[in-house]
Point group: C2
Amino acid sequence: MQPDPLYARLKAQILREIVSGNWPPGRRVPSENELTRQHGVSRMTANRALRELTSEGRLVRLRGSGTFVAEPAPSSDLLVIRNIAEEIRARGHRHEARVRRLRREPLPPDLVPRFALAEGAAAFHSLIVHLENGRPIQFEDRWVDPAMAPGYLENDFTRITPHEFLSRVAPLSRAEHVVEALLPPTHVRAWLDMGGTEPALRLERRTWSGERVVSRALLWHPGSRYRLGAAIGLDIDRAGSKQP
Amino acid sequence: MQPDPLYARLKAQILREIVSGNWPPGRRVPSENELTRQHGVSRMTANRALRELTSEGRLVRLRGSGTFVAEPAPSSDLLVIRNIAEEIRARGHRHEARVRRLRREPLPPDLVPRFALAEGAAAFHSLIVHLENGRPIQFEDRWVDPAMAPGYLENDFTRITPHEFLSRVAPLSRAEHVVEALLPPTHVRAWLDMGGTEPALRLERRTWSGERVVSRALLWHPGSRYRLGAAIGLDIDRAGSKQP
DNA sequence: CTCCCCAAGTTGTATATACAACATGGAAGC
DNA sequence: GCTTCCATGTTGTATATACAACTTGGGGAG
């Protein structure tokens, strides 16, 4: 079809110099006017190429000084964590939820440091089993600050997940996740229909809206039936529910 | 100091309409020429505002039709996965690596579907134990395509991690991660100094450079000593190594 | 030697203008 | 009624031009 636009071609050329190692981090890149002369493009075209590479983290620009190759970003990767109902549905499977508890209870002492609430203060507590095609796959144990989600107990959590409800009433400003491999307590084993020595994958999730903690959830999964993760561009079938 | 530039002010106004719900997903946004007339800016300024909001995922633009508010991103969260050496060092702890194997071997049959290599083709295989303050915390079992990293076997992996080396010689274009809770095989237990029923957290990682798979790593961690994850803005101490 | 000023160069924003490539709706023709 | 064509409108790229805000280095004055 179309050849690439000029600004995109210029971006690609600059990126080649960087990736090849010819222009290491800190190296000064030709100025807009130099690129204009060298490549026979307008200054606005050169500006756009450099500006986009800057917004992509490849370059650093200093007004009056020039444009420099950026330090490489730290090598880290991202793993996507999805709401269990969405995940199951994305696999073309049936999601169901069984609500085992949904009531106001005093906040246990070990959770006090997790919330902006005093010991014994009333909090909402829900225990929900999520099933995929009739098989338990996640046991959700969640505590919620009533001030942040006053209507929490009025919900039918067989129709909407707590995650979805909370996302709506208390927009997420921050989240924390920790993943562990553990031997679960016996009540979790019973809810998830797990054998005696089977490990569980536990995801702990805490969310904030503004500066205040909204909820703390422990999400337990049977190691034999669940895996966590999705690749960038990967088939969804590889993640989540293990093959039978 | 400076008032915001015109394009930034226009961006902010459009974003306000979106965030407030006045302009829901799918809603048509005023065209560049309409914004030019309504706001008394040049068309290039309007174009820049709309273009940047588009690259930020807020708008969708169709040549000839117009500009529309984008659907909100699916509710998902991101978990950061870091190179084990960086992670340990970030905690102010000492990272060491013990190389238990580093050689060319025929690719096992179960890995053939994972690489663009034929069964029995030569591949690089490394087994490395990573220690934190002298305690084993990760057992890394990695296979590498020799065509993608020809110098792999020449490295001293007590000084640089395979992850770091591969990131340099074969720039990452794609990555896949899957996290599982498993009972590890006995050789993994031995390397990681784990008890008989203790679960392991296993991270499987595969990376591509361009269209070709570079490496497949299984990263085993003792469930009692390692947790995976970091919050956005959280204290690093909460993640990775469990408190003694 | 230090400080100040100025010239040259660089990035940053804004506008006007032009042409290209596409979408859409209405009108005309069959 | 269906198809084709055309006018209008929209996005996409490119250029020339202008002014602003900053950096840097060199030279001159005290």
